[in-house]
Amino acid sequence: MPVVSDQKLVIERVYQAPPRVVFDAWMKPELRKQWFTPKPGLVSCTECVIDARVGGEYEITLDVGEGKQAVLRGKFLDIEEGKKIVFTSKACVEPADAEPSTCTVEFKQIAEGTHMTFTQVGFYSEETKRDQREGWNGCFDELKKLY
């Protein structure tokens, strides 16, 4: 039985690099472009604009082939240099008034390097519109072909 007792998606990773370096990989467009793509080096992240300040916005466009694109955009709610990023996330064809989900990435210094915790909330809210989910599913269907 899958556990759906909470409305959170949590992913933890350990990277052999200092928190500062992992933080930069998220926030510097030239670095973000290199990993935020289904197939690095093959499928390009065509555009990456990051206004790295609280209240600033970002927009990332992925070329998913056959002339199709997946776009992710949102706003930074909180930024702690080298420690934490909180941002809203909306994908692709979601309508303008759809409620975005909120993502938090935390970077903790450990002996091996960085313990990164990614949390996404806002999947199950009653306001979550059907179009939003269908938009995401469309995105994932496109991206899945590439993995």
Partner: protein
């Protein structure tokens, strides 16, 4: 990828959006129980409990079965599985990206680009 209808997902997510109902589902995951057993941990009236139960039933998450005079609540796993599948799509997406991030960080390290 997600087989459930959008309407079914809407009902499931709406049902899961409440902490009492999530806690009721948690109880039912341990096994079937009667309505009064299900209501026991909560400081609320029976009509309030019944209201939550109806939402869960409409979403297809719980089925009430009669056993003589007692109504037993039984968890129905299918809609829950669909909702989880939907969240799984996000997980697959992010985990793929985080694998790539690992590759990038390894490359940086090899090339001596991580000096602070």
């Amino acid at each position: 990828m997600v087989s459930a209808s959008a309407e079914q997902l809407d009902r499931t997510f709406a049902a899961l959006a409440d902490p009492t109902r999530r806690s009721m589902l948690g109880r039912l995951m341990e096994g079937d129980c009667s309505v009064s057993e299900l209501a026991e941990p909560y400081e609320m009236s029976m009509p309030a409990v019944s209201k939550h139960l109806r939402v869960l039933e409409r979403a297809g998450l719980v089925e009430q079965q009669r056993e003589g005079r007692v109504r037993r609540c039984v968890l129905q796993a299918e809609p829950l599985r669909s909702a989880t599948e939907w969240m799984e799509a996000y997980r697959v997406f992010w985990e793929g990206q985080f694998d790539n991030l690992e590759q990038l960080l390894k490359k940086q390290k090899e090339e001596g680009m991580q000096s602070e």
